[in-house]
Symmetry: D2
Subunit: 339 residues, 4 copies
């Protein structure tokens, strides 16, 4: 923590700041500058609360120096975490492909899509049984019946099931039927849910919130890890900006940004990240090219009849084309990613 004094701060005011630092058990280092003095704080084990200083007389502002997270950092774990789901991995040598419908709508629909997903070589099937919907009048998912269909798909095709939980009871159910707990963007700061997922033995796919900073996203992962579950995969899915040609603005720079501070694998969701069918493949290519560990993509056998998010779902042919294009880029990329 650095406390920057106002240009006209008096010596008494600076002394007062130094005194408060001492009272808190830390060491103060006053650094006189040309225009104004700053006071650095050392000796703290946990973050210093800036509020203790911001309203003291003569203080202009406080600057946080240390990051507030630990378990997610490369400092703790220098190599990238490889999340293992049976014999499949996320963060390892293969490109993790997670594909499927936004929502499980029926056994027929889910199986038709799963067939194509399996054929593409993807290892993970996604599909929502509990859908967080903006409107109370929209289709909310099939609930446990949807999970049973997903479990059947796992048995039939050997695909690992990734599905969302929106509350603690949902985590119980996902644990019973699926392989990876998805935590959606709107739940990224549902701390009760994060803690519950942190107590699970299943890996967690943690989507970035619509307006989450990098630090907030990593701290959400830290919540999960602080309960003992270290199998966390981050997922960039677009942020909310003024821009209106997409549903969200896909922030691909988040991938190198995560890499620089964290050992956790990170994937890209080009479907929610754009909300437009015609853009999904282009942004999927970009996601692989930027160095993501995988993709999560919405696919539907009849997008125009989808009960949710049909506008962004690929049909089966488009999906097949996407897989072929991203695999080509991934192969070229491999050395770059490693470097």
């Amino acid at each position: 923590m650095l406390i920057v004094m106002k240009a006209n701060a008096t010596d008494a005011e600076i002394d007062a700041v130094v005194r408060v630092v001492g009272e808190l058990g830390y060491r103060a280092h006053p650094i006189p500058g040309a225009a104004r003095t700053a006071v650095a704080i050392t000796g703290n084990q946990s973050p210093v609360d800036s509020a203790r200083f911001e309203n003291l007389p003569g203080v202009a502002e406080t600057v946080r120096v240390s990051k507030p997270y630990k378990l997610v950092t490369l400092g703790l774990h220098a190599e990238k975490t490889v999340v293992r789901v049976g014999d499949a991995t996320i963060g390892g040598d293969e490109l993790a492909l997670i594909a499927g419908p936004c929502a499980v709508e029926s056994r027929d629909q889910a199986f038709a899509i799963a067939e194509a997903v399996r054929r593409s070589g993807a290892r993970f099937f996604r599909g929502g049984a509990f859908k967080p919907r903006t409107s109370p009048y929209a289709f909310q998912g099939l609930g446990e019946d949807g999970l049973k269909i997903l479990a059947e798909i796992r048995d039939t095709y050997g695909l690992k099931i990734v599905t969302e939980a929106v509350d603690e009871a949902g985590v119980d159910l996902v644990e019973r039927y699926a392989d990876v707990i998805q935590i959606g963007a709107r739940s990224m700061q549902n701390f009760t849910l994060l803690r519950r997922a942190g107590k699970s033995s299943l890996p967690v796919l943690l989507k970035r919130g619509l307006s989450a900073t990098l630090d907030e996203w990593l701290l959400a992962a830290e919540y999960i890890m602080s309960e003992g579950n270290y199998q966390v995969v981050l997922c960039e899915r677009g942020i909310r900006t003024f821009s209106q040609h997409t549903r969200n603005t896909l922030d691909l720079a988040a991938i190198p940004a995560v890499r620089r501070v964290s050992h956790l694998p990170v994937i890209v969701d080009p479907s929610h990240g754009t909300g437009k069918n015609y853009m999904v493949t282009a942004l999927a290519r970009a996601g692989v090219a930027v160095g993501a560990d995988g993709l999560i993509v919405e696919v539907h056998n009849a997008p125009a009849r989808a009960l949710s998010d049909g506008a962004q779902a690929l049909n089966l042919d488009q999906y097949e084309q996407l897989v072929s294009e991203v695999r080509a880029i991934f192969e070229v990329m491999a050395p770059a990613v490693v470097s």
Copy 2:
């Protein structure tokens, strides 16, 4: 719903759109324009799913005309809702003042602040027992012990208690000890929580999410109301923007925007809305001047020692000054608000 065709759409493509509209049981109204044709849809009782059209050949875009909510609208209830909490009101003739610490930290702290809040003439006391914190390592509130302190304050000072619930179990507890369930910005789209609050007999204070549009916020209220609880108060508390001189950007235009479509009362939180002690009173004045039904303000007897959000809390003198300033404006305002 309006379906706008591309400039070069063929007659066959337009016919196909008309046919799909018919299949869905609606009526299609093709409107040829100078540059391109649009197809209007009527006859739908619920929102039309744009996905059914967006990927049809020749379609440029779809435009939603109807709003997706009902219970919150002036169409349903032309007069402003007055939320009654015992003998106090929000949305009635008086300016609703809700004040207190961010978090209940101890009996002494809470009582010292409550004393000042009571003296100011405010009818509501706020204080968090369950704090949603960005970091798992930050102070998370006293839990049920905090609620017990709040209940004592109610008994001692006759103040109505406003306190946050972050999950279903939390609502159970708030119902036992307090008067108004607060749903925080990070929980605005926690639909499990909204539904639970919708089944409560207590009024709900619903904060706007950090990146919530007006429609999303109103739909969150619609979730609560669709379960039968019509006692909802909206609260503008700042949105996330690029701007960095405040913690959030307080969007005061949301107050007239809500008024224009909804009968629900709406208040302003200048504390979270700015995050800076020195701005709170100025924005509180502005909130009253813009026509809000009340304010929720953080007050602390020793802001520099606060365990959370101290940087934005007013001390007792500052709070007293705020109340005097906003009351003066409210008195001048009264006819304007009515008009």
Copy 3:
């Protein structure tokens, strides 16, 4: 400037940073922390270029401590600047009211509006002769003919004329016919224009850019002042955010934020700040309540026939009502503003 080292930075890397600081002629102060070391820099007269450090081995990030502007600050000039335009002032004891049409469309239109503006007691008339329009096909203003009409209004009603210049040639013309040079939001970082305005003897009304931070806005004022023109008025007119219920999001917290660092007067534009007729008066009240030195408001004698921005213009009755409401608040406010 503070240079924060990575947790695993070596002593040699820290030494290298210290050496570069020395080479630049500054002093380095290494401050070892629990987790990582920071190096503070003192002795610099002008801002240190962070680029010299950001890519050095072992450096995690750099933190700027000093602000990059001087002339706009309270450090230079502790009392608020009062901008004088003949016998009218902005930043003094009176509430500065600037009103008029978005664009001068005809002599009749401008005079009809000016008549009402004069009657309201406002001292300033606004009206655009050169309109920066998003589309090349939209009405671009009457040019010099518009300025001549404005000069006539000045002579007839004694109103001071505020009008926009979009390039250097425009400043020449505004100097010939008007009293205050307006620099629009889209021109806030047109540095050629800022420098030209800085050489004028007329005061400058500088609108905040759509995505300008506080620092960028103040630096734009600094450009003008660095050429010798100290008569600058800042104007908050809304920023671009995700929010879609208004044309822009009016950031009223910018007013106390400016006050805290700068001596320049600051006014509010509730017309562009909302873009919606029905909100203008409410936000005008809020602008005065937050402590602005004045308002700039769009008024039209026939808003539905306005050639630009008619959706936000008040008609003459609405304008009269606005003036009466904001004056009532300003009177109540006076002591608060002073304090």
Copy 4:
């Protein structure tokens, strides 16, 4: 244009809207819906001014259907424009690479970098002689002397010169010494400058403004084209959002969005788009993968000594690596881009 009436609009109010449409010479098509009536307008040659309707009694809102631009659209010109600069192209079969320093600082610096750029096979050299800087105290470029150095580089290496003009006088100079006029993000809505560039015989590289929507960006191109200059290249360089791990948020979805409506070529600037050296290559790969026609990249022979934007400049080795990686992706991509 579609005019949506309020749910409780009276027949007389709807009739009044129809009447105004008729007075304007257009045709009105009332479409009664379940909840409310909409009135569609046809027969207009140019955009209808929504202001004429928004404040009429009973009107809820207006919805624009037609786009406000023409010359930039695929409707006008179905094939992608190939911008030719001597024997080099942008938008053709080759990947256009534009590289060089942010600012020309000296003959030695510029030649050292140009040598490497030439060696990489790039056809374009970038370098600023007139730098728009946020602070009046920052290095502003060498001016005409810088342009002379650039002209020498053209003669020596056969590289085409891309350099920025910030005002009309600057365009005169760029025309004398260089090959492509760059218009920077801060100038995207400097309409005087756009018109001047529209009268030039040189191609124009038009960067997207920090807070420009797709429509605003295309309309800026329309300004240039409406003056007769059809050689326009668009450049995505990041937008301003709440996100703070980058200097700007690179919006790669803008590339397919432009493709869908416009024939103009579009390139990506990963340097300004991130502002961080360590991210540039990753985002350059993503830019090519998403389907951009080229890249503009900042390179410096000694980034730590750069007089501007050094934090984002690649050194010569990093640049060489970038070129090799993006070429590999471009080769894989070729069929996808074509499709």
